[in-house]
Amino acid sequence: MTPASRHQAAIARVKKGWQAFARNRLALTGLMLIALLAATALLAPWLATFDPTQGDLQTTRLLAPSGTHWLGTDDQGRDILSRLIWGSRITLLIVVLVAVLAAPLGLLVGTAAGFFGGWVDALLMRLTDIFLAFPRLILALALAAALGPGIENAVLAIALTAWPPYARLARAETLALRQADYIAAVKLAGASSSRILLRHIMPLALPSLIVRVTLDMAGIILTAAGLGFLGLGAQPPSPEWGAMIAGGRAFVLDQWWVAAGPGAAIFVVSLAFNLLGDGLRDVLDPKGSE
Amino acid sequence: MMLEVRNLRVSYPQRDGRVIEAVRGVSFSLGRERLGIVGESGSGKSQTGRAIMGLSAAGACIEAEALSFDGQDLLQMNEVARRRLRGSRLAMILQDPKYSLNPVARIGAQIVETLRTHRRVSTQEARQRMLASLREVGIEDAERVARLYPHEVSGGMGQRVMIAMMTICEPELLIADEPTSALDVTVQLQVLAVLDRLVRERGMGLVFVSHDLRLVASFCDRILIMYAGRVVETLDSGRLHEARHPYTRGLLDCLPRLDAPRHPLPTLQREEAWRHA
């Protein structure tokens, strides 16, 4: 079928990519799970049957999983399932914010460094190195100490430590692409450096970056959970999954469900992102088919 | 007959059900002679050579009525037996030494490795034989070159190293897949001279795969012309001008000639019928 316009060509291309992706059952599973996460977050008010922040200390404290409370209740008498459902909003927020902050920054810095070379490259890469040198949790601690604890600061801390590897990746891709004849051709046509970077190089560096970010998501969720565990992320009574595990730590031997619920949720979502990322890599890797 | 190929078919089944047929029924036999296989990209010439060696890409489906070397059925052979043949009795030279030599091993070490895979020799003797093989291909300064890495030598020398490595075990059949296409014109002649001498002195059978019809005609005894996975014509190289198939004639005509300028150049009009020749 001959495409008759730019639109048709783009749509045909996306369709082919989707078909290639969908052939991978595991990747499709990952995608479904993430879609489920998004749906849960969106429909939280209607899905959660109990109040996530307020519980009855007298009657519903530390109840085992049952017909009414599918995942049991925690030490504050709150239904764990409802908390997980509301907490999915926080997880999704963290994931999206970090991706939106860190990925474009890394892409911009990396492609600029790779394309211009010289002192621009040196400057940007040393800047990258500085941020790369900080372990996430330590930086989060520092930010929490400086700005106070809270989910926004946690997100900022994670994003600030997440972008350097993306910059490195984008730079590596750009260095290889820079030599290509098609870049020389568009330079010869009189394109400015910014035009070449934005319209010709970045679209090519994007696929591997997307894969990398997706695979990173699992780690980001775990880091956020870790921060929550340390009390630096979302503050009580916010139902952030990591904080929930921390809360359940004291009861893990007798009332295992308090920590197991959020633990399983984190595991499933991290796994889903990993599967999705692997599937994306098989489809988006330009060396593969084209 | 050293090599017997009858109705060789190489196909690649795709995930969506289609099947890409690279070789569609090629037959020939080879004694101690030089056979050239000529075709353009997509003709299946390289796939034929690789199928004989057992080096087809993953996912290849290889069938034939007969595919035998020295009476042994290559299709029925298990991988262990195939590997024993490869390098010691059946060898292959590839196009670009940049990609076919191990970039992180010294040249001498790579040649020795090939030798010791197939022959029981002491370290001392292996080294002596390796140096001798380098000298055989015209590399006088063998000791020095043996210590170099592949990226430190020129294309022509790299190809000679490849020839040395592939012939050190004195194979009976050599398949050369575009051995000089990546080289400069003057270097091509040098490498071909080395190949010519080796094949002559050792009485090797040679299958020379190339897109260059004239080159193959000047080097080989017989030529197979391949198009779309099939052999469309077989010629003695001395009788190139008597070629009858329109594809062969087209190939001969469409090359620009220094002494006979033609404007415009005659071009090939591909006929659907050629696919079913």
Partner: protein, 241 residues
Amino acid sequence: MLEVKGLRVRFGDFTAVHALDLTVGEGQSLGLVGESGSGKSTVLRAICGLLKPAAGAVRIGGDAALPLSRRVQMVFQDPYGSLHPRQTIDRMLGEPLAIHGIGDADRRVREMLDAVALGQAFRYRYPHELSGGQRQRVAIARALMLQPQLLLLDEPTSALDASVQAEVLNLLDSLRRERGLSYLMVSHDLAVVTHLCERVMVMRQGREVETVSASQLAAAQVGQDYTRALMVAAEGFRREA
């Protein structure tokens, strides 16, 4: 159309081109022949500005008011590497027009696809859907979008099959005659170069060996031994009986 004097190109310590002079008249074509390492491709890149020469002057004719990109363009060697893998043919041909704010892009792209004998069906396809010969036609079309008078050709057919090469050579030939273009063409193949060019300069290790006319080459009236060696090599292998 093109005047080069004393061109010197260096890569660090290594001098790729030593003090080269050459000229190409209007509507004329010059071939650069040599083996790898002769510096011939480097000369092309230095002329169009992709490489900065260490010394020498390059003067390109045509309307001096026009920017360089509208006076000289290049066709690259590798059809598999000279087209952006994620852009449609339409986008690639329209890009030079967009950069210079030239309107009427739709008509121009359509006409150029016809001029290089690629049907309109190819307009919205991606490079990986095209064969080597088709990609090279796109490369030629792209080079001509800005209507330059001088075209630099870097081994435009060496990666193509013989039959496809003939078609592309014919196309280049007719385009030159129709549009009065000047060509500076690099090749390692003497026959290909003499097909398109009236004059041929033989290069070796960054220097000119000699410049002859195509007819002189055809009649083997050459001065230098190196040129003779190249011609002999081009004839092919001679088997010892």
